[in-house]
């Protein structure tokens, strides 16, 4: 009975969210990201990226020593450790998606469907380590 009160993590309701990654340069190097959580953290004009709390990653239990971070623009799903307070976000995983771009853009013209994967956009500009690793290539590190 005593646990059924406020402030008992795990019993206060599991509040999950979806957001977009805006910064992955975690000073502690443990894969945290700044995520613009939809409906909670507004837009850039409301809360600048630098003020967003670091969202902690949740890693797979069979491979927790090796991890990669989501890319800028990736949509991630997660939950709040502090429930409705919304100050301690945890990222559970990335939601793969397809980005609709201007059909007239060179990138869209290269794509037979007219749609471009957001990871491909990142790859074109700065290299997509995840995609390379997924293709069986060795990481440089």
């Amino acid at each position: 009975m005593s646990k059924v009160v406020n402030n008992f993590a795990g019993l206060n309701g599991f509040i999950w969210w979806v957001g977009a990654v805006e910064d992955f340069s975690d000073p502690l190097g443990i894969g945290r990201c700044k995520v613009r959580i939809f409906g909670w953290y507004g837009e850039q004009g409301d809360i600048p990226t630098s003020d967003l709390p670091w969202a902690h990653p949740m890693l797979p239990i069979n491979n927790s020593a090796c991890f990669d971070t989501p890319r800028i623009g990736d949509w991630v799903v997660g939950f709040f450790m502090d429930s409705e307070s919304g100050q301690f976000p945890i990222m559970m995983g990335v939601l793969p998606g397809i980005v609709v771009t201007d059909p007239a853009s060179p990138m869209a013209q290269d794509s037979p469907t007219g749609f471009v994967n957001s990871s491909a956009e990142i790859d074109a500009s700065g290299g997509n380590q995840s995609a390379n690793l997924a293709a069986g290539e060795e990481s440089g590190t």
Binding site: S2, A9, L28, D46, G86
Partner: protein, 470 residues
């Protein structure tokens, strides 16, 4: 920010207790400003320490069809100015938004209607219309609250009465909350910087405007007046005595040990875990230690219970896990050399830990606010009394009064040893109809006389604690 509270009791101009003077009762509508004093049947104005805004209702009976004439539709304002007769300077002078009309009832003839107009502060309406989505990096909480009032709700500075300073800087992201929800959210974390211990800050509206204060600082307010319950006929030669004589009283909450244990008043325990440093901290709240702490403020000198020891050898304040809480916190993350170095590198300064745009957020001090606030807010409402007194427009929530409850023992006319004493006014209703009375909700967290403790060596007590008769 004018903090004129508490007012001083004035009785010099009093003609008769329960007299009132309404100098202004006007409805501002798009068509005109209407004086509705003559149609007023009842006016009720209500403040509550645990509500963010004041509210009330105005009951009208009229046969001029105000509803159509004034085009009442829920976007009107009500200005009211009233006081106890002959007490200039104590007026309650407020402007409210009329948001609702109650059921309309036909009276004696087909042209006369009775109905109530419900009103609240305009800020309550704004609170329902807007959300706050904002970050406050490295800021003190009281400044954030002023920012929400002034920049999000556009509250005129004259309506912000008293904002108590808070201790420490925090990094909050207000996650798209209603303005008052955002204020209440931060109040939970706030620790007063002006004396007292724990975390008992509250945001409320009184007759002067909006306030953000700790319960302990309110408890240090000078006692406004001593009230007695002494039924008698009015004595015109001693109006002062009549004005401060209680008309009726009702003890709403005497004690409830079971509820007290369940709400963590006597003892509670917090386990705070930090996922970053993988540390866990256990913090216990012990009512006995809290009560003895010279820094903590209570209304009366003694504890609300005696020293009864149960069959397991514990007093009420020693069963720490009666209320167990678990939260994720960030206690002392900079004690990790790696985090400290990474944070310093981010700040570009080897001696300053950047907790703003850098690696970690400021400590939220969960180990202080969770255990203390759990107990303090429940404790402040432990004993609750409702009293009605002759109307006193000087009284507002947050005042402290002394209540001398005459003992019901017919052989003793001394004040009750435990239910007399100092009380905090947690709610006020000014009710004006054919007379003016003020209804107060009074709460206290302690008693003026110590309770006797049972003799723990006595066989009957030992056996009773074991649940047996011997």
């Amino acid at each position: 920010m004018a903090a004129t509270f508490p007012g001083t009791p004035v009785t010099s101009g009093l003609r008769y207790p329960q007299d009132y003077s309404i100098t202004n009762l006007t409805l501002l509508t798009p068509t005109n400003t209407w004086d509705v004093k003559n149609a007023m049947v009842e006016l009720s104005y209500h403040e509550d320490l645990f509500n963010n805004t004041a509210s009330g209702y105005l009951m009208l009976t009229e046969s001029t069809n105000y509803v159509e004439l004034m085009q009442l539709n829920g976007n009107e304002f009500l200005r009211m100015t009233f006081s106890t007769t002959g007490q200039p300077g104590t007026e309650i002078d407020k402007l409210f938004r009329v948001y609702k009309m109650g059921p309309r009832r036909q009276e004696n003839n087909m042209y006369t209607m009775s109905y109530a107009l419900y009103f609240c502060s305009e800020e309550m309406m704004l609170n329902e219309q807007y959300k706050v989505c904002k970050s406050y990096p490295n800021q003190e909480i009281y400044k954030n609250i002023v920012d929400i009032l002034q920049n999000e709700m556009l509250v005129d500075p004259s309506k912000i009465n008293y904002i108590e300073k808070t201790y420490g800087s925090y990094d909050f992201v207000i996650p798209t909350l209603k303005p008052f929800d955002a204020i209440n959210f931060m109040s939970v974390y706030a620790r007063t910087a002006s004396g007292g211990v724990g975390s008992d800050m509250i945001f409320y509206e009184d007759k002067y405007g909006f306030n953000f204060r700790s319960l302990q600082s309110l408890m240090t307010n000078p006692i406004y007046h001593k009230y007695t319950y002494n039924p008698k006929n009015t004595d015109p030669s001693n109006l002062n005595s009549d004005q401060f004589n209680i008309l009726t009283y009702e003890i709403l909450n005497s004690y409830d040990t079971l509820a007290g244990v369940n709400s963590g008043i006597f003892a509670n325990q917090l386990i705070s875990a930090d996922i970053l440093t993988r540390t866990r901290t256990v913090t216990n709240f012990d009512y006995g230690s809290y009560q003895k702490n010279p820094a903590s403020v209570q209304l009366n000198p003694f504890t609300i219970t005696n020293q009864y020891t149960n069959r397991k050898g514990d007093q009420l304040n020693q069963s720490k896990q009666a209320v167990l809480k678990l939260i994720f916190s960030n206690y002392d993350e900079t004690s990790s050399p790696y985090i400290k170095e990474a944070s310093s590198a981010t700040a570009g300064n080897s001696t300053v830990v950047d907790t703003n745009h850098g690696a970690i957020a400021h400590n939220i001090y969960a180990e202080t606010y969770v255990p203390y606030r759990t107990a303090q807010l429940a404790l402040a409402n432990y004993t609750r009394i409702k009293v009605s007194i002759p109307g006193d427009s000087n009284l507002t929530v947050g005042a402290t009064v002394n209540f001398a409850l005459t003992s019901t023992n017919p052989l003793s006319h001394t004040p009750d040893a435990f239910y007399s004493g100092n009380y905090l006014v947690t709610a006020v209703r000014h009710l004006i109809n054919d007379r003016y009375i003020t209804i107060l909700e009074l709460c206290k967290d302690s008693v003026p006389t110590p309770y006797s403790s049972p003799d723990s060596t006595s066989t009957i007590w030992q056996n009773s604690a074991k649940g047996i008769f011997k």
